[in-house]
């Protein structure tokens, strides 16, 4: 088999996932949070494809395609929400949007 061993891919994916998770947890701008989410999803995609290649099984790749479709849908909704917030003159800060506090 050509290319690096599957372990390397997993390491890259883990790093990407960590970056994304930290972004979601620490940043306050909704745009950045959304971007970080995308990074996490792509990290997951990377592991899927890596394993698919290792096993020579195509279903992992198909699953990755499905994840992309979901991600696209999520971005469409998320960006729509952010635009709506901006139009209403709300601060683009996720800590401010806390109306659902118990």
């Amino acid at each position: 088999m050509d290319g690096p061993d599957v372990g390397w891919y997993l390491v890259v994916a883990a790093i990407l996932f960590g970056i994304g998770a930290l972004g979601v947890m620490l940043r306050r701008s909704p745009l950045i949070v959304l971007l970080s989410l995308e990074i996490m999803l792509n990290a997951a995609n990377l592991t899927l494809i890596a394993f698919a290649r290792q096993h020579g099984d195509i279903s992992g790749q198909i699953f990755a395609l499905a994840v992309m479709a979901v991600a696209a849908a999520e971005v469409a909704i998320g960006l729509g929400l952010i635009v709506a917030m901006a139009r209403r003159g709300m601060l683009l800060d996720v800590d401010q949007a806390s109306a659902l506090r118990g």
């Binding site: 998770a21 979601v24 947890m25 800590d95 949007a97 806390s98 109306a99 659902l100 506090r101 118990g102």
Partner: protein
């Protein structure tokens, strides 16, 4: 043809009830009355066809079972929708539909102008159907269906004037007292199914010999309980006087002529079971004797014209119980028939009086009605003579037959019943003529002068014609069983239920002489008391006890109602409120509190959620790895 008549008889009143109910306000009140009357007379026609057909049949074949379909089936046990036509049921059909038709017709005048006439006639038709169901049923379960339905119709009609609180209370009382009897009857049926696996009369009567004594006694007791409650015998009698709150035709039809005699019908119909349990059969006779005395005495002091007649009804049904209890079945049914004639007549003439006086029922306000209402007076006199057992009139033949049968039965029981029945004859003469003299003789009272409505005669024609017909029947209705001369009625009934006791002709006429003398003594005493302007019962203490109906209502109140009410109050205070109610409160409050605490974790901050999520995943991963 014969059996078709029986089915028409059963279904015509049902069709009437359904038609009136469905038509609702689209038909006039008068139309509803016509539908009800007409269907009841159609039923009478059907009964007549069935009777004549049966008459023409050979002696051995006068027992026809007709099955419409299998109603329910469970393993070997099956109940079919079937009717039994024999000499007993055809006689009952004629009585129920004939007297019923006359009374429904009479109602047309009596109820005219009532706001809810249509509802009344629908109920009346329902009642006639239920009663026919009861007497025509081919098995005990269908009998129970009719039994329950007449109870319902009685409840609905007693409480017909639902704006009167007393009427509603009386309806409830009748229903509850009857429910006791219904329950014992149902239990007896369950026991029969358990032991014999069938409920058809013929099947049960065949199997009854093979049952243990205990079983037969229990079954007979259950049936007797039902009969006692339905026929208002002691100790389940208190509902009948209160039931007089219903319209007078209802009292005449349900609480005199037909429904209350259903108990007697059951005793006669189920006679093979009772003969297998002689102790229970004797108990029926004893209860009947006690009732006929107690009710006769109480009737001496009542002031309400309908209540006097109601107590007299209880007393006369007591006679029928005595007859059925000693095995003189033919006479029980014979007295049932003549009683239906003369008691319905008395109630209906009382209704004419009440109608004429604008709804007044207190006999203290009446008096001297003879001159104002000559025809009504005559009809009432006929009824009174028949009730008191004066010769020629119908009650004479049937009542004296029962008394003579008690004499023929002999033994301690027979002679005690004989004595009780003779005392009853004296009491009957007393209370009947006390009522007669107080209402019709003497000078018209001020109340009567004021209220007598002279402009429209004694009453509408639809009321007077049925009264006339019944007067004729009450006069000559007893001539179908003259001891030793001509007894076709008794032979007819004997074909279905063979009597176990039969008086000799000598016993019959000797008894009649004594009983008639006692009846006449009652009449004379009542007249002397009336002429002297005093009451029949003079002791104030005795009077008070009788006026309170021997305190039976009070005793039941203290024995059953108040302990039950006290128990439920105690349970409410000590169980319901502290345990059930408060635990519900606590559960609610606790949930609220926990919810309040948990809600604090809900910060509304997106990043906290993300951190919690990530942290949980880490924990889960660690746990999984550690566990593996």
């Amino acid at each position: 043809m014969t059996i078709t008549g029986a089915w028409v008889c059963l279904l015509a009143p049902l069709a009437g009830a359904i038609a009136i109910t469905l038509a609702g306000t689209r038909i006039s009140r008068r139309t509803a009355a016509y539908i009800s009357t007409l269907t009841t007379f159609v039923a009478f026609g059907g009964a007549l066809v069935a009777f004549l057909g049966l008459w023409a049949t050979d002696h051995g074949d006068r027992e026809i079972v007709s099955t419409a379909y299998t109603w329910l089936e469970s393993g070997d046990f099956r109940v079919e929708l079937q009717i039994l036509l024999d000499t007993l049921s055809s006689t009952m059909m004629l009585i129920v539909s004939g007297v019923g038709g006359l009374i429904v017709w009479y109602s047309m005048g009596y109820m005219a102008g009532d706001d809810e006439e249509r509802r009344y006639f629908a109920y009346m038709s329902l009642f006639v159907f239920s009663m026919l169901m009861l007497v025509q049923a081919g098995n005990l379960l269908l009998l129970l269906v009719g039994w329950g339905l007449v109870g319902l119709a009685s409840y609905l009609l007693i409480g017909f004037w639902h704006h009167k609180p007393e009427a509603v209370a009386a309806a409830k009382k009748a229903f509850v007292m009857n429910a006791i009897g219904d329950a014992t009857l149902a239990l007896a049926l369950v026991l029969l199914i358990w032991e014999t696996g069938t409920l058809t009369y013929l099947g049960v009567f065949e199997d009854v010999d093979g049952l243990s004594t205990t079983t037969v006694n229990l079954v007979a007791l259950g049936l007797l309980g039902g009969a006692v409650a339905k026929s208002a015998q002691i100790p389940l009698h208190t509902w009948l006087p209160d039931a007089m709150e219903g319209p007078t035709p209802v009292s005449a039809l349900i609480h005199a002529a037909t429904m209350v005699t259903a108990g007697v019908y059951l005793l006669v119909r189920a006679s093979p079971i009772f003969e297998a349990a002689p102790d229970v059969q004797a108990l029926a006779a004893i209860l009947g004797a006690i009732t006929l005395l107690v009710a006769g005495v109480i009737a001496l002091v009542q002031w309400d014209i309908k209540r006097v007649i109601a107590y007299s009804t209880m007393s006369q049904i007591g006679y029928m119980f005595v007859a059925a209890g000693i095995g003189a079945y033919g006479y029980a049914i014979f007295h049932l028939m003549t009683h239906a004639f003369f008691k319905a007549l008395l109630f209906m003439t009382a209704g004419v009086v009440i109608h004429h006086l604008g709804g007044e029922q207190d006999i203290r306000k009446m008096g001297g009605l003879r001159g104002l209402m000559p025809r009504t007076h005559l009809a009432f006199l006929v009824g009174a003579l028949a009730l008191a057992g004066i010769p020629i009139f119908s009650g004479f033949w049937s009542k004296d037959g029962i008394v003579a049968a008690a004499l023929a039965d002999g033994g301690a029981l027979g002679y005690s019943l004989y004595a009780a029945a003779l005392v009853g004859a004296l009491l009957t003469g007393l209370y009947t003529f006390r009522l007669y003299f107080t209402v019709f003789r003497g000078e018209p009272s001020d109340f009567v002068k004021e209220h007598a409505q002279e402009d429209h005669g004694e009453g509408p024609r639809s009321m007077l014609i049925p009264v006339g017909v019944l007067s004729v029947l009450a006069t000559i209705g007893g001539l179908v069983a003259i001891p030793g001369v001509w007894e076709p009625f008794l032979h007819w009934i004997d074909e279905t239920v063979e009597p176990t006791v039969k008086a000799t002709v000598t016993q019959d006429y000797a008894t009649s002489a004594v009983a008639v003398t006692l009846g006449l003594v009652g009449f004379l005493l009542a007249r002397r008391a009336f002429d002297a302007g005093r009451q029949l019962v003079t002791g104030p203490a005795v009077w008070r006890v009788l006026e309170h109906k021997l305190y039976v209502d009070e005793a039941y109140d203290a024995l059953f109602f108040r302990p039950a009410a006290a128990l439920s109050t105690a349970l409410r205070r000590n169980v319901e409120e502290p345990l059930v109610e408060r635990s519900l409160d606590e559960i609610g409050a606790g949930t609220l509190q926990v919810g309040g605490e948990v809600a604090r974790a809900q910060t509304g901050l997106l990043r906290t959620y993300a951190i919690a999520l990530a942290f949980s995943v880490v924990v889960l991963v660690v746990v999984f790895v550690a566990v593996r």
